[in-house]
């Protein structure tokens, strides 16, 4: 059983940058790689700003900030991930891109290094198939924003060994995250349920069952959900919902996962959600949450 001390993250976009905060904050030596130097610079600035906010809010001891930043290293060279015990991939959601990356990583990393993917919609078994180490490969699906959300959906591929899964699971707990085990199946748990549920809410609007404000109010009041489905969709954005639907429906062919026509009309009309000031609701302020 190997112990994980050094964590590699490949892809320094929205998710990779968040996962790197989680790893460095939990005391792991963290190396974050991206092919774009500017992505790393941006993440470094945002990470420092996020940690400063955490100190201000009393969530992080002031002395911890320099420690976390010292544990955080950015690099454009993939070879710098050579001493990592686990590498979490968070690059573009494209099987060919992920396969190419893992093939390169397989050449760089020692045999004991576990590979993990943060993919939302691609099969873990499929990505693992092109990694050169399908037995030492797991799915680790973090939620946005990773630095604030505790949930990680963990799934073994068909060839993943139980020992690899256990090591990755313990590592996930050591990160301070809350792992759940799910099958390697489209959308895992969260997106499998959420994408069609949100589509159903859109269809209620399409079919004239009720106004968006009444739908959100009803769901929050009846079930105690913190946000109504249409408010949540306004944060997700219609453009993103469309991509999620296309990915999920393409895999499951379940009618509820198909993108409702209203989403396409809203995109055409520029009503993408909060970021454009208008979605199912109107917004005076287009600032988004998170760090």
């Amino acid at each position: 059983m190997n112990e994980i001390r050094t964590v590699g993250i490949a892809g320094c976009g929205t998710m990779g940058a968040g996962i790197a905060i989680v790893a460095a904050r939990a005391g792991f030596r963290t190396r974050i790689h991206d092919t774009r130097a500017e992505a790393i610079e941006k993440a470094r600035t945002q990470t420092e700003a996020f940690l400063r906010k955490s100190v201000e809010r009393g969530k992080l001891a002031p002395g911890k900030l320099p420690e976390v930043m010292a544990a955080w290293t950015g690099t454009t060279k993939l070879e710098d991930l050579a001493d990592c015990d686990i590498v979490i991939e968070a690059v573009f959601e494209d099987l060919a891109v992920k396969h190419e990356l893992f093939a390169q990583l397989d050449a760089v990393c020692p045999a004991h290094t576990i590979f993990a993917s943060n993919t939302s919609t691609i099969s873990i078994t499929e990505i693992a198939g092109g990694s050169g180490r399908a037995d030492r490969f797991v799915g680790m699906h973090f939620c946005l924003p990773a630095q604030l959300m505790k949930l990680v959906e963990m799934s073994p591929g068909i060839n993943t060994t139980e020992a690899t899964f256990e090591t990755a699971w313990r590592f996930c707990e050591a990160l301070g995250q809350k792992p759940v085990r799910t099958q390697d199946s489209p959308g895992f748990i969260l997106n499998y349920f959420l994408i069609p549920f949100n589509n159903d809410a859109i269809r209620l609007v399409e079919q004239g069952v009720a106004e968006p404000a009444d739908i959100d109010l009803a769901i929050k009041t009846a079930l105690g959900y913190p946000m109504g489905p249409l408010e949540l969709l306004d944060l997700v954005g219609m453009d993103t919902q469309r991509l999620l639907c296309e990915a999920m429906h393409g895999l499951t062919h379940e009618p509820r996962a198909a993108c409702p026509p209203l989403v396409k009309r809203m995109i055409a009309a520029g009503h993408l959600g909060k970021k454009t000031g208008r979605g199912f609701h109107a917004y005076g302020d287009t600032k988004m949450f998170g760090a």
């Binding site: 939620c143 959300m149 759940v180 349920f193 549920f197 069952v209 009444d214 739908i215 009846a222």
Partner: protein, 219 residues
């Protein structure tokens, strides 16, 4: 605010116990609230005056149109339907789904809303569709959760935990359905499946089992 009288017609799922809304009623109130499982029949038996500020009929899984009649998509007057949302054997929630028809008068809708809100309830207005808002939206999701549990996507605890941690839901779907009665989920989805004909509403296997067991136990 208009005064209202309550006409009781059998057991009410919306108001099973004492509630400020019932206490606020007056024997000679101008508006009419038909309450209970036979509310629709009671309304037909003693049709209130057409100039009442509002007439509210408690609904089960049926549409308001069954009681008022419908024609050409132009039905609607001073009559509204309503139900307090309630999952199975759980207590009713604060939500009142207030059902309107295409030509329901804004005055009647507003007067009914005011009466419910004055009693501390939260009103969401919807058109006259099977399942109204909440059941229409959550039942396919509940069915999917039950089906995916059978398919071993994850354990019941992990399914629930994921939805609670990922979306901030106060309770996961499996715990919620088992707490409030899977057999009730069966009854609601059976009615919705009959009305809508969509597979997503067909009662999940676990709900069918629970309903059959409940029937057997009742024999």
């Amino acid at each position: 605010m208009s005064t209202y009288r309550v006409i009781h017609a059998g057991t009410s799922r919306s108001f099973p116990d004492a509630h400020p809304f019932l206490e606020g009623a007056q024997p000679d109130g101008d508006a009419f609230v038909f309450l209970g499982e036979h509310a629709g029949a009671a309304f037909i038996d003693n049709t209130p005056p057409g100039d009442a500020p509002f007439i509210a009929i408690e609904l089960g899984t049926e549409c308001l149109g069954e009681h008022t009649g419908e024609s050409r998509g132009e039905e609607g007057c001073n009559i509204v339907g309503f139900a307090r949302y309630r999952l199975g054997s759980a207590e009713p929630t604060a939500l009142v789904e207030l059902v309107r028809q295409p030509r329901t008068t804004p005055e009647a809708l507003a007067a009914a809303r005011t009466a419910f809100e004055a009693a501390g309830l939260v009103v969401a207005v919807c058109n006259d569709f099977p399942g109204r808002i909440v059941d229409r939206l959550v039942r396919p999701y509940f069915n999917a959760a039950l089906r995916r549990l059978d398919e071993k996507l994850a354990t019941a605890d992990d399914l629930d935990k994921t939805l609670m941690l990922g979306l901030g839901y106060p309770e996961g779907p499996i715990a919620l359905l088992e707490r409030t009665g899977l057999e009730h989920h069966h009854d609601v989805t059976r009615a919705l499946y009959d009305a809508l004909g969509q597979e997503a509403y067909a009662p999940a296997r676990r709900a069918q089992v629970a309903r059959r067991r409940a029937l057997r136990d009742a024999e």
